[in-house]
Every structure is written in structure tokens, then in C-alpha cells.
Symmetry: C2
Subunit: 373 residues, 2 copies
């Protein structure tokens, strides 16, 4: 019974992944395509590797902007011919640069590219742990540094990328992983009943709306990053925390009981968030929720976790997937209508959807394999 359901999910997810890859291969040559090439037989095709190579060459040539925006910064947005349009005063463009270069270097065995990824990673660590002034944000007395969940999450994700199958690199970043986990766990607040997006550097609640902010999709993403890490470490306590705190809490607070789907932002005290888009339904929180619950179920076989996956899956596939033209819509109103109909934009490219489908398909493969045996 469960096997039939899992099989059905895998079939739909597999087809969807094919359609999504076709969509981006057709309309965009992007940097994130090489993991598919490396780890999934049906995507081990020369046109995918070529697209990844040309994407990486473009990034290496143009994305690293020069000194005026801080040494080592990457552009967030470039013109078609490679001129920088925008440089964010955060670390995230550089994080994606590391991810892309490391992944491609694994196939091409390009040692220089791997070194490029690692040196950017070391710069990221310096910005986060030692001195952020090169990011270009003026230090203002009313805006002290905070612990924003995105930062340790991204670094933990990068450590996972860089260390796969490499014991020496894993050794190098061992302490960093521990630090990231510790920083992420500081976001459990209110006697363990809430995950807050921003806390002080020593893990206390911040005043005002910044301190009350909840981002359910982000918490769920942190949840599967933590669970993945805890499974590798065989840390049962952390596995439980990942599921109970970083999945169940954001699912319960974030799910819209009236119209379905996950809210983008919420205020822990029930006030209205200050972000105009707070009640919209975005594609990526749903992607993260699907991965989180399938990973959690895959590990524990707890039927409740499969029920959660089912609930999110039903909403996601009936609302976001574009049956006609492929790929997913990104932005729905609270009631689930498509409000912005483009497929690609500054924050939506060949990343969240294929990563979600890829991870889910792999997890379902594993589940069905064990079911068979």
C-alpha cells in the first residue's frame, strides 16, 4: 500500500524532473546542472556537461567583481554580456559560486577550479567569523551584527558539498560544521516552541519585528540540512531536534489552515509581518518542505511524516507545477492563484525545483529499494 503510493510519487517526481531539466536546458544554460550529470544516469549527457562548463567559464570570467565592491565579491546579477548589474552586501552569491565550482570540478577533475571554490569558501568563513567589512555594509550603531539563520545554514550546506568523499577536506572543515550547527540551534526560542529567523550573536531574542520574524520555509530547509548532518554523524539527539523543532514547528505555524500552503513570513506573536508579501505562497518553501519530510520519513518510517509529505505534495503539485509549459510558477496569492507568471527571475532559476525533485527521487529510490528487499 505504502509502496504503491511511494511508487506513484516517484513516477510523478521523475517525470517532473525530466520536464524541469528540459525546460532549463532549452531556455537557460546554468551553472547548477552538473550534479545531475554526475549522479543520475539518465542525465549523464554531453549537452548537460557542456552547459555546466560554459556556465562556469562565464562565472569565472565575469562574476568576480573588482575591488570597488570589496575584494572577492561576486555579482548577484550580470548583463547578458557579463557586466555586473548588482552586488549584494551579503555572502549568498559567493556561496552559490562555491557550490557550482566545487561540483563541476568533481567531474572535470579541474584542480584549479576546486582550489577556486575552496579559496572562495575560506573568504566566506573570514567574512562570517572574523571581519565582514569587505561585504561593504557600513557598521551602524543601531544595527549591531546578529545571527541570521541563512548564514550558518548556507555554510553547513557548503561544507556538505565540499567534503563529499574527501576526508582531508572534511577534517579541515570539521570545526566549522560544529559551529554552524550550534549557530542554527540558537534559533530555537520561546522554550523550544518557536524557530526565529534572527537572534542575537549569543542566541537571545532580538527586540522588535526583526526578532519576531519567522520564515517557515527557511526553518524547514535548515531542518533537512541538520538531519542530513546528524544522520552522517549518527547523532540521534540532533536527528530528533531536526525533525521536532525545525520541521514540525514551522509546519504547524507555517501551514495556512484556511487556504493550504506555507506562508512566506509570520510573526511569532501573531502580529502582521512587515513584509508586503508575507501571506504569499512561494515555490521554494514548498520544495524545502518536501525534501525535509521525505528525508525524515525515509529515516524513521514514521507514517505521520509521510502524511505531512503527502499534504505538502498535493498542494505543491496541484498549484505550482505548470502542466502546459513545464517548470513551476513561483509566486501565488494566499488563495493559491498565480500572481507572477514568469518562470525565471533574480531568485528563481535552475536551482530549488530541480534540487527538490532530484533529492526526492533519490530518497524514493532508496525507500522503494529497501521496500523491495
Amino acid at each position: 500500500m505504502t509502496a504503491a503510493l511511494l511508487e506513484q510519487y516517484r513516477e510523478r517526481i521523475r517525470t517532473e524532473l525530466d520536464r524541469v531539466v528540459d525546460f532549463w536546458l532549452k531556455y537557460s544554460h546554468d551553472k547548477e546542472q552538473s550534479r545531475l550529470y554526475r549522479t543520475m544516469e539518465r542525465f549523464h549527457r554531453p549537452e548537460i556537461l557542456d552547459a555546466a562548463k560554459s556556465g562556469a567559464a562565464f562565472l569565472q570570467k565575469f562574476a568576480r567583481v573588482q575591488a570597488s565592491s570589496g575584494p572577492g565579491k561576486c555579482a548577484f546579477c550580470l548583463t547578458r554580456d557579463g557586466r555586473a548589474v548588482k552586488v549584494q552586501r551579503t555572502i549568498f552569491s559567493e556561496c552559490f559560486y562555491v557550490m557550482a565550482m566545487d561540483e563541476l570540478s568533481r567531474i572535470t577533475q579541474d584542480k584549479e577550479m576546486q582550489a577556486d571554490a575552496e579559496s572562495m569558501m575560506d573568504r566566506l568563513i573570514f567574512w562570517v567569523q572574523t571581519d565582514s567589512s569587505d561585504l561593504g555594509r557600513p557598521q551602524l550603531p543601531g544595527d549591531p551584527p546578529i545571527n541570521s539563520m541563512a548564514v550558518p545554514m548556507m555554510l553547513l550546506c557548503l561544507v556538505d558539498q565540499l567534503t563529499e568523499g574527501r576526508t582531508d577536506v572534511a577534517e579541515k572543515y570539521k570545526d566549522l560544521s560544529g559551529w554552524c550547527v550550534e549557530q542554527i540551534l540558537q534559533h530555537i526560542q520561546r522554550d523550544g516552541k518557536a524557530i526565529l529567523e534572527n537572534v542575537t550573536l549569543n542566541g537571545k531574542e532580538l527586540p522588535g519585528c526583526q526578532g519576531r520574524l519567522q520564515n517557515p520555509g527557511h526553518a524547514l530547509e535548515a531542518g533537512w540540512f541538520l538531519l542530513q548532518y546528524a544522520l552522517k554523524k549518527e547523532d540521534a539527539q540532533l536527528q530528533k531536534t531536526a525533525v521536532d523543532k525545525f520541521m514540525e514547528i514551522p509546519f504547524h505555524t507555517g501551514w495556512d489552515k484556511q487556504h493550504g500552503g506555507l506562508f512566506y513570513f509570520l510573526d511569532v506573536d501573531g502580529h502582521c509581518p512587515t513584509q508586503l508579501e508575507w501571506n504569499m505562497k512561494l515555490w521554494w518553501p514548498h520544495c524545502e518542505a518536501l525534501i525535509a519530510y521525505l528525508m525524515a520519513y525515509s529515516h524513521s518510517r514514521e507514517p505521520l511524516l509521510l502524511d505531512r509529505f503527502k499534504q505538502i505534495y498535493d498542494y505543491t503539485f496541484s498549484h505550482f507545477s505548470d502542466e502546459e509549459h513545464g517548470e513551476w510558477f513561483g509566486y501565488l496569492s494566499r488563495k493559491g492563484e498565480v500572481v507572477l507568471d514568469f518562470k525565471g527571475g533574480s531568485f528563481k532559476g535552475f536551482f530549488h525545483v530541480p534540487r527538490c525533485l532530484y533529492m526526492c527521487e533519490k530518497l524514493l529510490d532508496g525507500l522503494l529499494e529497501r521496500q523491495d528487499s
Copy 2:
């Protein structure tokens, strides 16, 4: 018949202005209150002047941030005790600083404060016309300078503020007004059929979604700034352009035929704008539209323009005004439901609503006076 209608509008607007002023006097001491004190008898009350004075003292002491964010920059946001939280890399916080200091100096006869306003104004002009590097935005090769409508609009509004009743100052900024008008008129595009928010420095259409962006509320605000200027100059051609281009075009393209109200953003080619909040109904575009059409009607007595005012008035007063607690809600869904229920935030304070009510009441006074005589 019309007089009765105008009288009815004035009564409601007058009451609303009283309620709005009460609201902000109770919950916020703010910098923009002194024009009411100076020009409306019923607000010529010591507590209003005191609030304005203490607001100005706070701004003079704390808002001007030091060198790291560029000389002469003002904070966009401060903590309660005056520490800078955010400094925008634009000119707008400084524009509001000029407006506040100039207005208060007119009552207090504080020559130093007036000089402070003028010196900030001169710095603004330098940033806009000569060198913007102190704003702190790195010059990126893919992001060349553009003509964004907000900039000449704000400067024109400031010239109007600074020159009221002062021939010497008017003489000083005469060329600047002309330059602002010219820059604003460059936003008439597509053979006179569209107002675009961003154009090149020599008035050509920009490529991509930035070039296709329309902001109806902004265009309507530019409309009444232009009309006000053209009336002073007795420039009939510019008066006509202000109404036909900067009011009628954004009204027709911006009005939501299905659910009423003005959209926040639109794409001139009918694509979906990239701003997540594009289809929301915000309070301030409706404020600007009310002023624009009442000013236009007041000048020409063209019944069509009063019909427009009526249409916007009916939507605005039935959707934004909070009957129970005073002031207006700021952010509605496309369908007109309140989506964010706070009254004050980073972009909504004691400014757009009272300015709109104040201007409309003054215009209605003028109309009814002429009607009587």
C-alpha cells in the same frame, strides 16, 4: 448640485484630517506637523508646534550620520534613542530632512535651521547633477546611471517648499525647476501613450523589465507636482500635459477594472511585473490620485475630472480609512482586503495621508468659496 457634493467631500475630508492628526499626535511625535500649524487655523495649537520642534531637534542631533556612510547622508531609520539602523544609498531621507527643516524654520524664524535645509538641498543637487559617489553605491559597468522619475519629482517638490514666498530663493533654484520638469517629461514614452518609471539619461526607453516598469501612483504624484508648477508659471501647455499625460494615462492603465483601486506596479507591455507586491493596493497612490484630480478639477472645472476624483474617493474612503481606530490601513490585497494591519512603518508615517487630506481640504475650500461668490 456640485456644490453640495463638494461640501460633502469637504466635510468628510475635514473630519478625517482631524482624526488623522489626533492619531499621530497621540501615537507619534513626528517632523511633518508644522505646515498644519502654520497654515490651518484649527491646527495652530502649541502641542503641534512642540511636537514639530522636538522632532526636528531629534533629527538634527541624530539623523545626520557620519562619514562611513558618505558625508551628509541621513539615516533612513533610527532606534528610539537615536542610533542609525539603516542608511539608504538614495537621496530620499535627505529630501525629507530638507522639507522638515525648511517648514519648521518658517514658523520659528530659525535662520540656522533654514540654512541647514538649504545646505542639505545644495548637497542633494550636487549628488544628482554632479557626482553621486558619496551616496555609497558602487558604480557597476552593467548598471549605468538612469533617469528615475522619483529624483526630479522630489527635487521639484523641494524647490516648491523652499521657494514659497521667497523671491531670492526662487531665483536661485529657477534653473533647477526647469531641469526637473524636463527630466520628468522624458518619462512620457511610446508616442505619448505611456509614462515609464525609468528611462535613460537622454530620455530613451531602457531595455528589460526596469524599462517597462510603470508606477501609476508615482506618475499621478508627478502630475500634481507638474500642474502646481505649471499653474504658477501660467504655462497652459504644461498644465495640459500634466493632466493628459501624468493623470489620465496612469489612471487608465493603473485602475483595476475588476476589483477597483490602483495597482502598485504594471508592465507597459502587459507582462507581469517582477515586484511580488505589484497587484496590491497601497494607500499612497490613492492619496496622490485624490490630490491630482481635485487640483485638476479645481483649475479647469471639467466635470470628467470630478468624476475621476469621485471614483478614487469612493474606493479610498471605503477601503483604507479605519473607522474604528483612526488613520488608514496601508496595504490591501488586489481584492481590497487589509493584508497588513499596522498604521505606521518604515514607509508610512505622518505624511501621505495628512498631506492628501490637507491639500484636498484646501482645494475644496477654494472651490466652495468661488462657488459661493
